[in-house]
């Protein structure tokens, strides 16, 4: 890490100003970097960040080499050595996450070496699997890449990186065709062509889908191919703890990842020449989210701790109307795993929004009332909830004919009836739910990060495609394109890397806390669960849809206090710095992501796309820049902000 940039402050924020070559499709060049008041020279966007952090070009200088690692071709191979309770495995490529990005990448790189796919639950548990809509691509003769690009940039409030958008929109169609060749079955029309739907924000029909389970279908096709590939080993129920990194001169290098097998409670260390982070989103920093339980921001947190650059974390996409369990007559016994979103069609068909005093509030915010754009509705609901300190609002469709309600929305009707609510006679309780993280680990056009040997793809990455707001169905597309693009540089890096087989000893090992005993572990678990709920409550209360500087600063203080309190409790009970457990590690990742979101939100002094703040309620052209968080170089004094092991410096 170039300490010359440090300037002594942690969580450095700075602005990159773009010079967007409008309409020319040229590489965006950074015309100036203002950093603590200093100006730097022109750098191209795609390698801007790595250059910024290095200042001078340094080739990856090889450390002491003992052996050249040759890829092995047999399935489930591992040169493993057992050391007390922990195991070390060696692979050419390690993939963290088994969603569309991880699987797609694995299938390609497996042609060149051994691959480990590390997934924290079952392989199909991913945000991909819950993506029931579709994937967008230009597949109709009447459509065009320029149109898709334009729609993306408009949706992204012009914060998108133009080159990234062009690349993704151009390469999308080929990625879809490849999926079809791999066996994914998308729906067709009577004319024999792919049936293309049109979602909000798109000016053409371009959404490819498989009934209403596109993500699941893609996941199924990819998993089938993965299972049949002899070079790929899948490690289910392996929770990734921290990336294994070392500093080689000015470069940070990634050598693999430590994991915890949550079924056997064994630590497994993966040493790999190349690591792809494809760990998905962080919806569970909020209390209500559409994301499955696995989405706790593990990858973003690990990358941040590994000194990777993080970007645009303030842009969290919420859906305005998820079913609010608190408002149901019969409360679900088991907390709903992921939010039930109520479609816009309810409002489109005449549904009215009321607060708990039965005041129709939408006309106060927009003359289109309930038919205002989704973002406006989301903000309005959030504003009402915060002003009135309430937990949900009401969406009432009961004034419509019963038969129409039941035939249009049988799913909502059934779900609500299950909990004692008849939507033909009573209003539906709704609350906004977190859905997608537009920001994440900063990626170049090849999915590269500022950490050598570490690549990212999918929701965990911030590629510049989504800008300040994601266009519908662009997320699966981004995952496919970047997973593919990261392949060649990964192969090149793998071929030029050699691995010291004693590397596994360079870092202190994580420890499973057997020594604490079950009573202490129960206490730790209970406390951690409470703290998670408290963190989610803070995030929703202070870092929701309508923000303000005061609320964000309050969030910062409260989160830091909560984190200190939690860690104190843990360490007082005997928890040690290198101890690991699923819930505790998830908690430290949630803290890390929450703080990244808050810092990023505080840094943006304008409102754009998904980030709305009453202190800076308008768009500012001069602020049309990504928010970038550089690694913390000092004051890493919390467990969530430090890697478990010490870093190795050559």
């Amino acid at each position: 890490m170039t300490t010359s940039i440090a300037g002594g402050s942690s969580n450095l924020h700075y602005r990159l100003s773009f010079c967007q070559a409008k309409g020319c499709g040229q590489t965006s060049r950074i015309s100036s970097l203002t950093f603590n008041g200093c100006l730097r020279d022109d750098i191209s966007w795609s390698d801007g960040l790595s250059k910024l952090l290095k200042f001078q070009r340094h080739k990856f200088s090889r450390s002491t080499i003992i052996k050249t690692w040759k890829p092995l071709g047999t399935r489930k191979v591992s040169v493993s050595s057992c050391l007390r309770e922990s195991t070390v495995k060696y692979f050419d490529f390690a993939v963290i996450g088994s969603g569309v990005a991880g699987l797609r990448y694995a299938l390609e790189v497996a042609k060149y070496g051994t691959v480990a796919i590390i997934t924290k639950a079952e392989p199909h548990e991913s945000n991909t699997n819950y993506a029931q809509g579709g994937v967008s691509a230009v597949l109709s003769p009447s459509d065009s890449v320029e149109s898709h690009m334009q729609d993306t940039m408009v949706a992204g409030a012009y914060l998108c990186d133009e080159e990234t958008v062009r690349v993704v929109c151009t390469e999308g169609p080929d990625r879809i065709r490849e999926l079809i060749a791999m066996g994914a079955m998308f729906d067709h029309g009577e004319d024999g062509n792919l049936h293309l739907a049109r979602e909000g924000g798109h000016s053409h029909h371009r959404i490819v889908h498989a009934a209403d389970m596109t993500g699941r279908e893609i996941e199924r096709a990819l998993l089938e191919a993965v299972v049949n590939d002899p070079n790929i080993s899948v490690f289910e129920h392996h929770f990734a703890i921290d990336l294994l990194t070392s500093q080689d001169g000015p470069d940070m290098v990634c050598h693999g990842v430590d994991t915890l097998n949550t079924e056997t409670q064994q630590v497994v260390r993966f040493i790999s020449k190349v690591t792809l982070l494809a760990s998905g989103g962080a919806g569970h920093i909020y209390p209500s989210t559409t994301n499955p339980q696995v989405a706790t921001g593990d990858g973003m947190a690990m990358a941040h701790r590994a000194q990777a650059v993080i970007s645009n974390m303030e842009f969290v996409q919420f859906h305005p109307t998820a079913l609010a369990d608190e408002g149901l007559p019969i409360k679900p016994i088991i907390a709903r795993e992921n939010a039930f979103l109520i479609t816009e069609a309810v409002r489109g068909d005449g549904g009215i929004l009321y607060n708990l005093d039965w005041e129709r509030f939408m006309p106060l915010y927009d003359e289109r009332a309930e038919l205002a754009p989704r973002d406006v509705v989301a903000r309005s609901i959030d504003d009402q909830l915060k002003k009135r300190c309430e937990k949900y609002v009401l969406l009432d469709i009961s004034h419509k004919p019963r038969e129409k309600i039941l035939s249009h929305f049988p799913n909502i009707a059934a779900e609500c009836l299950h909990y004692g609510l008849d939507i033909t006679r009573q209003p539906i309780p709704v609350v906004p739910a977190a859905h997608y993280m537009c920001g994440g680990v900063r990626a170049g056009l090849q999915g590269e990060t500022n950490v050598q040997g570490l690549y990212v793809a999918g929701e965990v990455a911030c590629t510049g495609l989504h800008g300040a707001n994601r266009l519908a169905s662009n997320s699966l597309l981004e995952a496919l394109v970047f997973a593919r693009r990261a392949v060649q540089p990964s192969i090149d890096h793998m071929k030029s890397s050699s691995l010291d087989l004693s590397a596994s000893n360079w870092w202190a090992r994580p420890v499973v806390p057997h020594s604490l005993g079950s009573n202490v572990m129960d206490d730790v678990l209970r406390k951690t669960r409470e703290v998670r709920k408290e963190l989610q409550a803070i995030m929703w209360k202070y870092v929701g849809i309508v923000r303000s500087t005061t609320r964000l600063e309050t969030a910062e203080v409260e989160i830091n206090e909560l984190e200190a309190q939690w860690e104190k409790c843990l360490f007082e009970k005997g928890w040690e710095q290198t101890m690991v457990g699923l819930e505790a590690c998830e908690m430290r990742n949630l803290f890390c992501c929450a703080k990244l979101v808050v810092s990023s939100a505080l840094a943006r002094h304008e409102s754009r796309g998904l980030h709305y703040t009453i202190d800076f309620p308008h768009l500012e052209e001069s602020k049309r820049l990504p928010t970038v968080i550089l690694p913390s170089l000092v004051n890493n004094n919390t467990w969530s902000s430090r890697q478990l092991h010490k870093q190795v410096i050559f």
């Binding site: 819950y130 079955m185 009934a211 039930f340 816009e344 309810v346 035939s407 859905h435």
Partner: protein, 117 residues
Amino acid sequence: MAAARRINLNRLFSSLAPPSSSNAVSKTWVIDTAAVRSEYTDRIVKLATQQSPQENQDQETVKKQEKEEITHQDSQNEEEDDDGLDLNKETGEIGGPKGPEPTRFGDWERNGRCSDF
């Protein structure tokens, strides 16, 4: 022909089913892939030779009209094509969701539940 519907393990792996709260979303209508593919191929060959250049444009117009008239077409919406091919007459889609176009109000909805937007 309509009877030729058997459980399709490819499309609806029970082992890949999401948690029960979202089971309600995916309908359990099933297709026999092989049977559909062969019927499908025959039909596509037939249709391809009949396809008019106007078809795509017409489909777009039809879709717009359908969106506007949605409230008047309930009883007809769920009607299934019964010559063996799982065709949704309203959207022109084969093997797709039944009923009105899921994206007619901008988001992706099925029976009221939204999954993408």
